[in-house]
Structure formats: structure tokens, C-alpha cells
Symmetry: C2
Subunit: 454 residues, 2 copies
């Protein structure tokens, strides 16, 4: 007799009313960002031309524990949240493990990932401050789709700079963003100085995320009452994503359980940081002893093989410097299908916690990650995003150890999104054409030479 | 103050334990199917070479009101059900209507549609009877995906004959079915007599659904202990799909409401028939007065412009004849993106109810349907399937009338699936390249000349 249901949903009344700011409980705070020119800690005045005021406040505040979630954001969350906490009975059975496996599934919305949580907040605050329009960039398209959805809800005009290569290869992502009313511009474009320069220098280029960021920022600061928004890495994004962990915590309360192990995939750190937030609080405050595991791809191993130091957040070197685990901003990860994990750095919050030994990290090859993803799809009936499948792989390995040692641990992992738009990667995997390219020590040493001197 | 939440979920304990067989309460039963050669009513012995025993029993039984849902199927339903009943606050607000609009959302699973409900049942019964393998055909791929998922769950080998054209144009559908372990064969193929004949006669053909059906049936009857399964039209499929309506009814009970109007899209009739089942019972038994509306595409108007008579269910004329509204089995619908609605006939149950005046029908052009779909996506944050968008269009028109007449009716419509795999159609719509092709009276008269003489 299964006493715990497959899916645990909170009622609307049980949904969190505050975001939790993990920085407030960190004994060692994340180091402040530095201005890219003066190399001095950034202050609000440096950020207000780019971000709206409330988001600047959230970005810089490392002492306020809780931020009220405005009613308008909570109303929006009610449309696509709460997300279910799912008991992975199928996976437990398949692995024949005494471990109890749960996952928090964030893919149950049209954008297909957790990104919508922060998009909702960022668009709302901009709307509340009277911002006239927003700009952003997108690579694979998840963030752009989430933002287009949130902008449709709040009635905010949006321009998305989409890397030219993706614009051509992922026409469906472009179409879905347009369905939600966003304007999509292939980057580099003629709409910005930096875009025009790039087109002149490199005619026929397929663009880069760095260039798209630069265009979106330039467009925002040069347009009337326009602001730029970003979907990961930033402290404000992890604050909004704490909704994932807070809902998971409330769901565990309902069923009278609590995780012994938490596993999340880590790219920029927004999903992991959000998932672990309230549990890490309990760990930092000495209330609980939890094993927290970040899983990254071997092709882009910022935590497991990077250096903890100040670096640029973007390849264009326009953004502030952040102290984080980094492979160097000029590190070019091998073509890996987990596009959301192909980032040279890591959220400063996650980085500091890792440096302090509060979480550990593991790296897996993408072929073994797709093997885990395929197994998961068959037994849990959800096609996972390649990014999320890193967490699945990590959780499976832990559940197998529990089987070998006969331990009935409670494992929680984050299933941050679905793989409906990643089927070309699944196809490569099925056809045996997927390869694992892992950077050599020399590769990493070379890109680390480009670190700024701070 | 909104007293009714956005989403109403049943708990696992509240999920239906029986399917409801609407035929048992129909004053005029659907006419029996006829054997394609003898033209006599089919009996169990005619069907058992093709379908497994329990499904034959369900197909032919028009008196038993309720069928217990076996525990194994209910356990599987717990993985992807209950589906939410959603209050369309965003749409109500956009339309400024006093009507209360609800929709039952069946797209919240990896296959993306309601088809998984019947796939679950059909695979379970085959497994329970010791059937060794299943075959089916798929065009656009929704049914094939749903069946592949159910087969992965129950450990049943599956061969899917996929229309050659779709096999090439929709490689992602093929990949997702393979992820779930199905074998996919492009039809026509060398694996059947009919396939080999077709390839000889028409080298380089892109295939047809009729041919794929024929290959799947031939493969099933000629292979050891193998059966064929079908995703719509059949009585057994509507029986399984009654889970949609039963859950909706239970959810309305929870919130103390009941629909005045029910709207569903109608292709083969499985989604509509399932959605309306318990409500139509209340109507037939004189307990409730409900306006029930089937919405179909103007390009394939079987209810609104077809004839109620015996016809073949397939273009290959291999299957039994069914008494239904039909445009003639050789009717070639104009290329319409709502692939699931491009069927010349209609479920005999839905057809009989329509003939008896128990439901009415409306037809819309696809451009106006996509306009409604786009509006819906922006205010409700779900990208609808083109098929489902027909129901949205129908519901919107009714809600507008409620506004004009200041009536606060309760409207329920079926959102049978998501449009994540239909983005090329959305792209055509956005680019103004979508056209509406509506058959002339002469077109329909011509194809009705091919009706069998019974």
C-alpha cells in the first residue's frame, strides 16, 4: 500500500508568499561584483541604467531574509504553479533501491522549464516601475520563451536578440516566442552599434551569446525607458527561484518527510540555487545534515575543474566581474546538447557555498547522461531536458549506492525542464553519433590565462 | 476575491475507479458495425483476430453501464493524471464576459494529448491476456507516442507503421517514440504484403494513413500472438476516454458548479465523446439541460455537411463498416494543420447523439482557429494543439454571446492537447501563409458517391 501519492501538489493557499534570500544566512557572503572598468564593488547607481530599481535592490541585498512576493506575481504563479513534487516510484522500482526518490518537476509549463519563475518576477517589477519595454538575449531559447510568456501576461513589449545560429536552426523557438507577442531579432543585427560592427568585421557570422548579450544591453541603455533582463547567474534570479525549494519544503512537510540528499544540475546555478535554498538554510543553521550535490557536464566542468576567482560574466567583457568558479570567460565548451549548462562560470552564491564545503560537485559525460534520460523517460513517462538529465544521472548513482549499502535515504532532485525541443540530441544519441569531448588540462589552463587581473 | 482556484486537481483517492459506458444510457443505441464482406453485424469472433478479448467485449457491449478500471491502469493513470480542470480567469478577463469558463487540460503528459488514456487501457488488457506484441499506425504521431509510452510502462513490444511522409517530415516524433522503446517502420514497407505491393506499384510514394493501417493490421494478424490497437472512433476508445468527463464531473462537484455548455473538438470523436460522457448521461436521463457543441474544421465537416449512413472506417476498406456521419471514405480533406481532425467519418456514438439532436455542431476555418489559439496562449499561458483550438474558438464565441446577453453561464471545454509539435503551423499563420480551403458541395457530393451500398 503506497501511502504517499505519486504527485504532491500544494493548494493555492499553501503556496509560498515570500522569496527566501539564502545570502542572509550564509556565514561567508558571496563577494561583491566589481565594476568592469574601475574594479570597485558595484553600487546601485552602476546597475540602474540596466536593471529596474527593485531588481537592483534585490541584487545587492545580502541581509534581508525574506522578500514578499507581490500579489500580481503570486496570481501569475497560480496559472502555472505550484509544480508537483513527484515520488519516482517507477525509477525506484527499476533501480530496486530502498531509497525514496522524489523530484520537483518544473517543466509543466509551456516554456518547458523553471526559467518562467524569475521571468514572472522580473517583468512584474519592470511593469510596476513603469518601464516601457524590455530586452534580452537567448541562445537555445528557453529563457526567451519564458520571458515572452511573462511579457504576454503583464502586457510588456519585449525584444529578444537570438543568436543567429539558433535563429536558423531552432525556428520553432522563434515561432513560439512570436506567438506570445515578442519581437525576435537575429544577432548580430543592424539595430545596434555592436551588431553593425560585428556584421562588418565578420560578414555571414552565425553570432554568439556574448554578442547577443551586448546587443540586448546596448539596446536597453540606448532606448527610452527600456531595461535589460537576464535569466541566470544573478543573485536576484536565485532569489526568485527559491520558490522551487520553498514549494518542495512545504510538500515534504505535508507528507512528513525531509531529504537526506539533494541533487541539481548546475549551469549558471539558478535551478540548483533555487531548489536548495531553504534546505541549505537548515544546513547552514545546523538544523539538518544534508548531502547537496551539483551535477555538471564533463564538457564544461566549472565547479570540478575551474578556479574560484573574479572573472567576467560574459565573453564580451561588458558586464561586472563576479567572484565565482570559472573556466575563464573565453573557454569554449565542446558542443554539448545541454545548452543551458554550457557556461564558463557559476552563480556567485553557489560558488561560495562550494568553496565553503557546503555542497559537492560531480561531472558526467553526456552519453551517460542521455542513457539515464532514456531510462527515466521509460519508467517515469517524462522526457527530460538534457540539462535536467544531469540531475537524474546524479540521483540514479546515489540511489544505486543506497541499494548496495541497503540505505533507505530520501533523495530529492530537480527536474528543471522537458526535452521536447531537444529531440535532435536524443536522435544523435539513439543513432550512436553522440560523442563526449572533454577539455584537457591544457585547454583549461589556456583559457584560465585570460582571467582579468584583479 | 477568487474563491475558486485556477486549477482544480482531484486527489488520488478521488480519481474515478470505473469507466462509464454512455451507450448503456442512450435511448437509441449506435447501429452495430457490419462485416466488410458479409455486411452482417460483426460478432466477437470477427474481431478477436485483430483485438484482444476484453477490448472486443467492451467494443460490443452497449448495456453495461460501468466497467471497473483495473488497479494496474489506475496506477499508471496516477503517473500522468488526474488532469487539472482549469478556470480560465485570463480568458474571461480578456473577453470581459460574465460567463465562467473552465477547461479540462489533457496535454500535461509527454505524449501531449488525451490519447494516452486509451493507450494505457489497451496495452494493459493486451498484456493481461498474454499478447506478445502490438502493432499500430500513426500519422502526425500523437497516437504513436502515447502508445509507445504505455508500452514502455507495461513492458510490451510495439511496432508503429508511420506514414512515410510524416516519417521524413516529423523526425522528432520518430525519435520520441524510439526513446520509449518502440520500433518505427516507414510505411509502405517491405515488412508486409500490402506494403510490398504498394512499393512495387508506386515507387517513391510518401504513403497514406490507409496504407499504414492496412500494414499494421496485416502485421498483427500474420504474427504470432500479436494484436492491433487503434486510438479513436471505436466504442472502446470512447469508453476509456470517459475518464476525462468523469474527472471533470468530480472536480465540478468539489467546487459546487456544473456546466451549462460543453464544447469539444471533434475528429474521430474520442476526445469529445470522453469529455461529455457523464454530462450527456445527465442530459439523456433528463436530470440536466446542457448545450453540447462539437466543433470541427470547415475543411473536413463530417457532422455539419456529411451524411449519416454506413461507410468504411478506412480508405483501404479493410475495416468493418460503421454507421456514422461521413463525407465518404475517399474524401480527401484539404491540407489542414489539425491533423487529428482530418478524418472523413465520426465515432458512431457521437454520430447517433448528433442524429438524435442531443448535441449540435459548428465548423470553423483554420485561420480563425489559429487566431483564437494565439489569443488563448497569451492569456492562459498554454500553447494549444490546433485540434484543441477548435474547441477554444467555439468556447470563445459562446462566451462572447454571454457577454452580449449578460448571461453568467458555466462553460466547459476540452483542451485535448498541446501544440509543441505544431509550430510549423503556427509559423505559417504568423507569416500570413495559412489558407482556408473549404470543400464545395460538388466535392462532397463526389466523394459521397463512393459510399458502400448497404
Amino acid at each position: 500500500m503506497k501511502t504517499i501519492p505519486h504527485k504532491i501538489y500544494l493548494s493555492e493557499n499553501e503556496m509560498p508568499r515570500q522569496y527566501y534570500n539564502l545570502r542572509a544566512d550564509m556565514p561567508k557572503k558571496p563577494a561583491p561584483m566589481l565594476h568592469p572598468k574601475t574594479l570597485k564593488p558595484v553600487v546601485a547607481a552602476d546597475l540602474t541604467p540596466v536593471f529596474c530599481k527593485e531588481l537592483v535592490r534585490q541584487e545587492l541585498d545580502d541581509t534581508t531574509r525574506y522578500f514578499n512576493i507581490p500579489r500580481e506575481i503570486r496570481d501569475f504563479y497560480k496559472i502555472f504553479r505550484p509544480s508537483p513534487l513527484i515520488r519516482a516510484y517507477g525509477l525506484e522500482n527499476e533501480l530496486n533501491t530502498p531509497a525514496k526518490i522524489y523530484y520537483k518537476f518544473e517543466g509543466n509549463n509551456t516554456s518547458g522549464s523553471h526559467k518562467l519563475n524569475s521571468a514572472a518576477a522580473q517583468v512584474y517589477y519592470a511593469r510596476a516601475e513603469g518601464v516601457a519595454a524590455l530586452t534580452t538575449e537567448t541562445g537555445a531559447g528557453q529563457w526567451g520563451t519564458a520571458l515572452a510568456e511573462a511579457c504576454a501576461h503583464f502586457g510588456m513589449p519585449l525584444t529578444v536578440y537570438m543568436v543567429q545560429g539558433s535563429y536558423e536552426q531552432k525556428p520553432f523557438r522563434k515561432t513560439i516566442m512570436r506567438t506570445f507577442g515578442a519581437e525576435i531579432i537575429a544577432s548580430p543585427s543592424n539595430t545596434t552599434n555592436i551588431g553593425r560592427e560585428m556584421l562588418k568585421k565578420f560578414p555571414g557570422t552565425s553570432g554568439s551569446l556574448g554578442c547577443a548579450i551586448s546587443e540586448a544591453v546596448e539596446k536597453a541603455v540606448s532606448s527610452e525607458n527600456t531595461r535589460y533582463v537576464l535569466g541566470s547567474v544573478l543573485n536576484q534570479v536565485l532569489l526568485h527561484q527559491s520558490i522551487i525549494g520553498l514549494e518542495a519544503e512545504a510538500a515534504f512537510n505535508k507528507i512528513g518527510d525531509y531529504p537526506d540528499v539533494i541533487v541539481g544540475c548546475a549551469g549558471g546555478g539558478s535551478n540548483l540555487g533555487g531548489l536548495i535554498a531553504p534546505f541549505m538554510r537548515d544546513k547552514l543553521l545546523g538544523r539538518k545534515d544534508i548531502d547537496i550535490v551539483a551535477v555538471e557536464p564533463k564538457s564544461c566542468p566549472s565547479l570540478t575543474r575551474g578556479q574560484f576567482t573574479y572573472d567576467f560574466c560574459d565573453t564580451g567583457h561588458l558586464t561586472p566581474l563576479a567572484k565565482m568558479y570559472t573556466l575563464g570567460s573565453e573557454f569554449i565548451p565542446a558542443r554539448d546538447h545541454a545548452g543551458g549548462l554550457r557556461y564558463h562560470g557559476m552563480s556567485p552564491i553557489v560558488s561560495q557555498l562550494y568553496a565553503d564545503g557546503q555542497l559537492r560537485a560531480e561531472a558526467y559525460k553526456q552519453t551517460e547522461v542521455f542513457e539515464a534520460a532514456t531510462l527515466f523517460a521509460r519508467v517515469e513517462q517524462i522526457l527530460p531536458a538534457p540539462e535536467s538529465a544531469h540531475a537524474i544521472k546524479g540521483a540514479i548513482e546515489i540511489a544505486k549506492k543506497c541499494r548496495d549499502n541497503n540505505q533507505s535515504k530520501t533523495i530529492l532532485f530537480g527536474l528543471s525542464g522537458t526535452g521536447n525541443f531537444d529531440l535532435s540530441a536524443y536522435e544523435q544519441f539513439q543513432n550512436g553519433k553522440m560523442v563526449d569531448i572533454i577539455p584537457t588540462d591544457a585547454d583549461i589552463a589556456r583559457s584560465l590565462k585570460t582571467l582579468p587581473k584583479v
